[in-house]
Symmetry: D3
Amino acid sequence: MRPSERSPDTLRAVTLETGVNRYAEGSCLVSFGHTKVLVTASLEEGVPGFLRGRGEGWVTAEYGMLPRATHTRGRREAAQGKQSGRTQEIQRLIGRSLRAVVDLKALGERQISIDCDVIQADGGTRTASITGAWVALRQATRYMLEEGLITKDPILDQVAAVSCGVFSGTPVLDLDYEEDSTAEADSNFVLTGKGDIVEIQATGEKRGFSEAEFEALFSLARKGIRELCELQRAAAR
Amino acid sequence: MRPSERSPDTLRAVTLETGVNRYAEGSCLVSFGHTKVLVTASLEEGVPGFLRGRGEGWVTAEYGMLPRATHTRGRREAAQGKQSGRTQEIQRLIGRSLRAVVDLKALGERQISIDCDVIQADGGTRTASITGAWVALRQATRYMLEEGLITKDPILDQVAAVSCGVFSGTPVLDLDYEEDSTAEADSNFVLTGKGDIVEIQATGEKRGFSEAEFEALFSLARKGIRELCELQRAAAR
Amino acid sequence: MRPSERSPDTLRAVTLETGVNRYAEGSCLVSFGHTKVLVTASLEEGVPGFLRGRGEGWVTAEYGMLPRATHTRGRREAAQGKQSGRTQEIQRLIGRSLRAVVDLKALGERQISIDCDVIQADGGTRTASITGAWVALRQATRYMLEEGLITKDPILDQVAAVSCGVFSGTPVLDLDYEEDSTAEADSNFVLTGKGDIVEIQATGEKRGFSEAEFEALFSLARKGIRELCELQRAAAR
Amino acid sequence: MRPSERSPDTLRAVTLETGVNRYAEGSCLVSFGHTKVLVTASLEEGVPGFLRGRGEGWVTAEYGMLPRATHTRGRREAAQGKQSGRTQEIQRLIGRSLRAVVDLKALGERQISIDCDVIQADGGTRTASITGAWVALRQATRYMLEEGLITKDPILDQVAAVSCGVFSGTPVLDLDYEEDSTAEADSNFVLTGKGDIVEIQATGEKRGFSEAEFEALFSLARKGIRELCELQRAAAR
Amino acid sequence: MRPSERSPDTLRAVTLETGVNRYAEGSCLVSFGHTKVLVTASLEEGVPGFLRGRGEGWVTAEYGMLPRATHTRGRREAAQGKQSGRTQEIQRLIGRSLRAVVDLKALGERQISIDCDVIQADGGTRTASITGAWVALRQATRYMLEEGLITKDPILDQVAAVSCGVFSGTPVLDLDYEEDSTAEADSNFVLTGKGDIVEIQATGEKRGFSEAEFEALFSLARKGIRELCELQRAAAR
Amino acid sequence: MRPSERSPDTLRAVTLETGVNRYAEGSCLVSFGHTKVLVTASLEEGVPGFLRGRGEGWVTAEYGMLPRATHTRGRREAAQGKQSGRTQEIQRLIGRSLRAVVDLKALGERQISIDCDVIQADGGTRTASITGAWVALRQATRYMLEEGLITKDPILDQVAAVSCGVFSGTPVLDLDYEEDSTAEADSNFVLTGKGDIVEIQATGEKRGFSEAEFEALFSLARKGIRELCELQRAAAR
């Protein structure tokens, strides 16, 4: 039995609220249960140095957690003077996931910066971030089309993410913090709308786990991401 | 005429929403018009080194701005590896303002950390932060009383803050960003519920300004802070 | 009774010695009693990025304290790898205060960097810095006029600063360290030669304080700054 | 055809040379073709703060690349003042992978620090690091047993890693740099001696990729890791 | 002919003024011509971690240069966030030089921190620092004896330093900046009162130089340091 | 008697192995007994800012030590976020030593970056680095000549280095760690092939030392460096 009383293949209540920032070209407040992430997509002219002059754009992401997003207050990264390894790992994942479904040439020499700030954390902040980020990105590219900055839609497909894990011996979908902290295996799946793999990260937390377990997690992820993609389409309409 | 069409002595719409974070001992989402700051108050056992063994507590504050809180995206301080001078100045002001109305001995050897994170900025983020922080602090000390951690209320009075400035030659209350960026003089007043001065910061932005102008600003601030104190009492009830 | 036996409205012995650095375009060793600050004004071609191409100049300031300027040795900021919030707050104040009396267009695309290094500290280092900085700045602009770099004097007025506070219940002028560390209220006033307000910072250290107290402090400051302006004129002659 | 003329399921020449550092409790110079990583295992008394007093040990890893390990010289991280996100991601992966096969209680309150320094890089530095690290760790725990510091072998199983990718449409084993930089999909598998999954990281570099492709990669990885485990056993004998 | 018209074996005018800081246990303003360094010696209870519990003391030094000590303004190290390699090299040299003439056991578990801050630089700042530091240190240990903190004088001998170089083919004593910047060879000698070698650093700036040249430099240094030691004795009386 | 049983004027076994890195324009693995340093020379187009436009090149060096190069593991400088003073001192010495024998104009506007990474340390890492660096540099300039990038050999002479010290009262050549840690005097000599002085650093570790001792050290160094120069010529052939 899951602590939340969800059945193994059930997502938490997911909401994707758009238009939550009056300045950003795209924005989305995404909730996976008690996990809440505020995502903005900011359009900036120009690209990083390594891309200059190639006529291509870039999509990048930054991730942060408010100090009291968690049960006990964490140290503010700006005060510590550096981003943790975990933060960097997550923001690299978000950026990579989005770029897999964007035609960078269609952006022109512009960058879209995605900021994912975790307001409240209850597990799954990186998968919520990716899922919400696609909605914010969708809005930003729509803005670009409407303003006539570009003529071709750079978004090639949807992308969404969910975590799965083996909790008390059972493969379950969309771990919350309580499950995540004791799970035997933990995984994050990032899939496109068509079902292609963008990223898989699977970790045996206390022990290795079997290929059969891995396949059960993958199958749960497919189901969850199908549902998330539907919610994205509704939100981005 | 103010860009917002407010009369010179009118605050923006101010809201103070409590209970916005399920983990923090106190929390408040404060809005001064389009300026929105999420404030949490976190109770921590122990005090900083310089106070250890004195039987006294401490109240401190940290301040941050989400990168796209502003019209154009700013750099994330955690990514830059340091907090700007402006950030440090503001968080020192917030901490000082709150400590002026707290009986630190009554806290015991505990620290309350106030986090003020600006979700959206349209001028007056430091005054909104102080005003909302008092509400979050109020909730945290009530929690301490209810849990039996302390027996005496450490809050001695209210404290609230507002900015005033000389805009197009006229003293006005509660500057928004458009006013702030062209004001001839800019000031922040922090007053207690009783009307005592906790902090005054007044700056001639382009020129010095006269004592008569200063007095007009002070008088507007008194009016605004009286109204803010009423809203605080309602929110903290 | 003040520890220094000064009457409430008496400044410490103030001296402003110019020409103390053989390389700087302007320099001043300012003493407010035992507080000694070495100020240099350095002329540099070019302006910071945000001003480039506008045909305007800039005046900026940096502040530092030698490790043993104080009763007990403090840590060297260069060794710690960052400037404290206090240091940044003070150097921002000095720069702002000077810019209020400078016609930046008249400087051309040049920067004057003011360095205020505290050799010995006994309270009032920021007000001594501002008062001495004006003298060093005055020398640097005179150098520019004499060298024919500019034809119009960019200095619009004098600017000087003094602290006042409520010590043992009495408003007093120009706090020394012993007074400052126990004062109930502490304030810094920065006024122009004409008496206009450039900056006011007033803080209730242990309690809020009343408007009547504030007015007494302001009136002491006016008197002190009138005397400082006279000394500046004598030094800059 | 692979640039190296290897068949799709062939590892590069792999060597694991032990005893390459006269001070370290364990050491291994691992080569996967032209990729060479010097690994040391250092035994230290005590554990990090978060584990103190629990009677458990810890295994952690650090990773670095010599500036000219690569085709063009990269900047030295120590000179830049921070480790890149990539470096932190890799060192976290190495530590996690090793801990999955170590009985931390059996270590007592001791830490084994694994240092993986890349002498020459031609793709697959993280998988070579993990594979060599197990050998160095094996030596360090043997040292502990021989010295009588512990009585029970803390190593529960082997762990080794290899990369696989889709190169020019074909799934291939153990990518070198030339393949890696143009692969359509890239993955790292970390498996135990028994074949359990410790970590899977799979990324679609330019596009999503299919589940069938993923399965082909997984199957190549199984084959490669079986061979690596044999080499580990030979080296650690 | 030297630019300063000094003969090859003549020091600049050297002054050693004591008692220049009212808080420090020892202080000395040392001038070698236009080079001026403010040195303080601060007594602190306790020693660095690596010495704790051994009943021994420590002498350490920090060095800094005010931004406009030089012809053109340099960047403030505290603002840059780190000390340059040159700064660290110099402060390590100063500390080492002083410790060579101090009986650390006689200090007890106390540290004397020497701060050398260059007010104005015209070559030879490190040698002036060492020469002045001995005087400040001498005062601090005398203070300790007078206060009864120690009973045995920890100063074993004097130590002083001077630079020599080959300028336009001629070996000369005590280089000023103009000579230093074009010298073919540059050297710093640190000798004890008895004439023993504490430190020699000799560098061929543009070319190697001969042993005969080195011996000429050494001999000049002996002469200069004999004179400096006399001035130290007079100052420390 | 030396712990290694060497006679006072005997070098450790020295080897200089070239071609140890397949990407670098020059490379050398240098061993002085158990001290092993991997040196690479990397050719880069362009020069640092302060040299731009002068038609001259630059040679610079960086130095690092692997964490377990030493008896007990040291902290990784990249993880600490800064290079120690010792590291900076050594890398400045290496760069200076090499530049003394290079005709920078003959390089054109190109930089050669020398990386010296200590794989295993047993005393004398800086002298081994310099000695090996000359060999790597020699290879890099030969590459430039062969590729037709330059037409004139920029190497003016050889340069090599060795340490000497007073150990148990006896002057000895090429200190190993055991000797170095207890030596009464320690010195590093950097001489050209012709025998000119490039750099001398001599330090009395516990006491000053006499000129006679210094001369004995110098004479040992001459002998050692003559032998090192022969080995360099053999290696660079």
